[in-house]
Each structure stands twice: as structure tokens, then as C-alpha cells.
């Protein structure tokens, strides 16, 4: 098909020759006070270094968008745990994977969705993340298992689903709430 000959009512298929230039859609548009959420998308590599770098940048980006320091602390803790879970459990520390972080910021909350193509969660369910009994002997103190507890404590509407080869974890973090 030559350029400009897309059938009526149908856009030219992407990848056709002759497109003038790629559409660079900015993923942010600075209007925090509008009714429509402010969307941010990040593609993250499957290593803990990639997670670290993403958190650093995202925290700065959210700061520029007017998200308060205390809220950014909670967001960073939650996203760190979610993304590290993807790296460690969905991709089993294999460094050549990629996953997507989609955020939608409104005045009251930050909606987050983490999507990966790694292994499903065991039992297709979010781990419990119970509190630990800390009144135990020194040697029996837990060294892990805090991650899901922190996620559950700091989020609302936590939801997981597996669709075809994709994991999707979504939740809301309420903003402006003193803890």
C-alpha cells in the first residue's frame, strides 16, 4: 500500500513506510490540579539496579509534580517492594527482562499498575504479608517477608490478575494522609 492510501475510516497501520515521523507523546502534562489524572509510564529492566534508578528518578519527578515528601516516602517504599518482587520472583533475577510501571496521579491518590511477563504469583494470589511475632529469641527474628506487609499497609484496593502471560498488580496510594 502506498502512503496516503489507507482505506476510509481506517488509520494507516503502524510500521507502514512513508510515515513522516514517529509520534512522540509526552507521558506527562503538567496540570496536577485538573480533574484528569496525570499519567506516567516507565519501562524498567529486571535488575535491582534498574529498580533503584527508577525509584530515584520517579521520586524526583513526583516531587516536581507537587507530591509531598511524606507521600513520596510511602510511594517509594511501596514501589520498591513491588518492583523488587518482580525482579526476584517473576523474573528470578534474570537480567534481560522488562516490565512496565504505569502511574496515574490525581490530587487525592496515586494509582499504580505494575505489569510484567514473568512467572505468575504462587497460587495466582497475592502473598499474605502477615505481621511477624517479634517477641522471639534473637536467632529467630525474621530477615525477610516484610515486603508484602509494607505494600498492604501503605496501599488500598490491592489487586492481582494473570492474563495470558502477563502479571498485573494494581493499587492505590492515598495522598495527603498523615500516618
Amino acid at each position: 500500500m502506498s502512503p496516503g492510501e489507507a482505506p476510509p475510516g481506517k488509520a494507516a497501520a503502524p510500521g507502514d513506510g512513508g510515515t513522516s515521523e514517529g509520534v512522540l507523546r509526552p507521558d506527562t502534562h503538567a496540570d496536577l490540579h485538573g480533574e484528569v489524572g496525570h499519567a506516567l509510564t516507565r519501562v524498567v529492566g529486571s535488575t535491582s539496579e534498574d529498580v533503584r534508578e527508577t525509584l530515584r528518578r520517579l521520586s524526583a519527578d513526583l516531587g516536581r509534580l507537587g507530591v509531598l515528601e511524606t507521600d513520596r516516602e510511602a510511594v517509594e517504599v511501596v514501589l520498591a517492594e513491588c518492583m523488587n518482587n518482580v525482579v526476584e520472583h517473576a523474573y528470578c533475577e534474570s537480567p534481560d527482562g522488562e516490565f512496565e510501571l504505569k502511574l496515574c496521579l490525581t490530587r487525592e491518590s496515586l494509582f499504580c499498575r505494575v505489569e510484567d511477563r514473568g512467572r505468575p504469583m504462587p497460587g495466582l494470589a497475592i502473598p499474605a504479608g502477615d505481621t511477624h511475632d517479634l517477641s522471639v529469641e534473637l536467632d529467630d527474628l525474621p530477615e525477610g517477608g516484610f515486603g508484602w506487609f509494607l505494600i498492604r499497609e501503605l496501599t488500598r484496593d490491592l489487586n492481582y490478575c494473570r492474563e495470558e502471560d502477563r502479571n498485573s498488580l494494581s493499587f492505590n496510594i492515598r495522598l495527603g494522609q498523615a500516618d
Binding site: 535488575t47 539496579e49 511524606t70 516516602e73 517509594e76 505481621t131 511477624h132 527474628l141 517477608g145
Partner: protein, 114 residues
């Protein structure tokens, strides 16, 4: 991952010169802490003043460090940022550690039993 240590009498002060104790460096943190703490002294004060962020892997690494010091030695924490404190508070790990506002405060406080 860089550390700075100061031995002052029966106290070893370990200053963590890293911004983050996270999944990317938790194993390294544990290994280095084991080297630095050696067999003595009885009190180790971990100064986290420069640490901006700690995730659950980092928290696990700090707990592991306390465990390998054993029952006769103590790991105390100092200089927690509000973000780091939040993680200790939410997981209630703040009840397990002696936490000082600053390393200087820790160095001058008596080693009272927790």
C-alpha cells in the same frame, strides 16, 4: 559500598556512606558488616545518617547483622531519616533495636540493657 569506622573505647561506630541499603546491595552490606564488626567490641553503633532509603531487603540485612553479633553484643542504630524510620516503624522493628537520634547521642549514652 563504603563504610567508615571509629573505635571509641568499648564502642565501634560504623558510619554507612551509602544513600541506600536496598535489594541491590543488601548482600554486600551483610558481608561488609560481618568483616567490620569482627569479634569485638560489645557495642556496635550503626550510623545511618547518610542513608536516605532502606527497603525490606535492607531491613533484613540490618536484622541479619544484629543476629550475627550474637546475644552478648549489641547492634544499635542512629540517625534514621524519616523514610528509613517509617520502614522500621511499620514493621515494628523499631521495638527490636535500640534507636538513637544521632550517633553522637549513642556514643554518650550508657549501654543500658534493651
Amino acid at each position: 559500598m563504603e563504610f567508615e569506622t571509629v573505635r571509641q573505647g568499648e564502642i565501634l561506630r560504623i558510619n554507612v556512606l551509602a544513600e541506600r541499603i536496598d535489594a541491590a546491595c543488601a548482600i554486600q552490606f551483610k558481608d561488609r558488616m560481618r568483616e567490620l564488626c569482627g569479634a569485638e567490641p560489645a557495642r556496635v553503633v550503626l550510623d545511618l545518617q547518610q542513608v536516605d532509603f532502606l527497603d525490606s531487603s535492607g531491613l533484613g540485612a540490618v536484622v541479619a547483622a544484629m543476629k550475627f553479633l550474637g546475644k552478648d553484643r549489641r547492634l544499635e542504630l542512629a540517625g534514621l531519616s524519616s523514610k528509613v524510620s517509617k520502614v522500621f516503624r511499620l514493621t515494628r522493628m523499631d521495638s527490636v533495636f535500640t534507636i538513637h537520634s544521632s550517633a553522637d547521642a549513642a556514643m554518650t549514652s550508657n549501654a543500658s540493657a534493651a
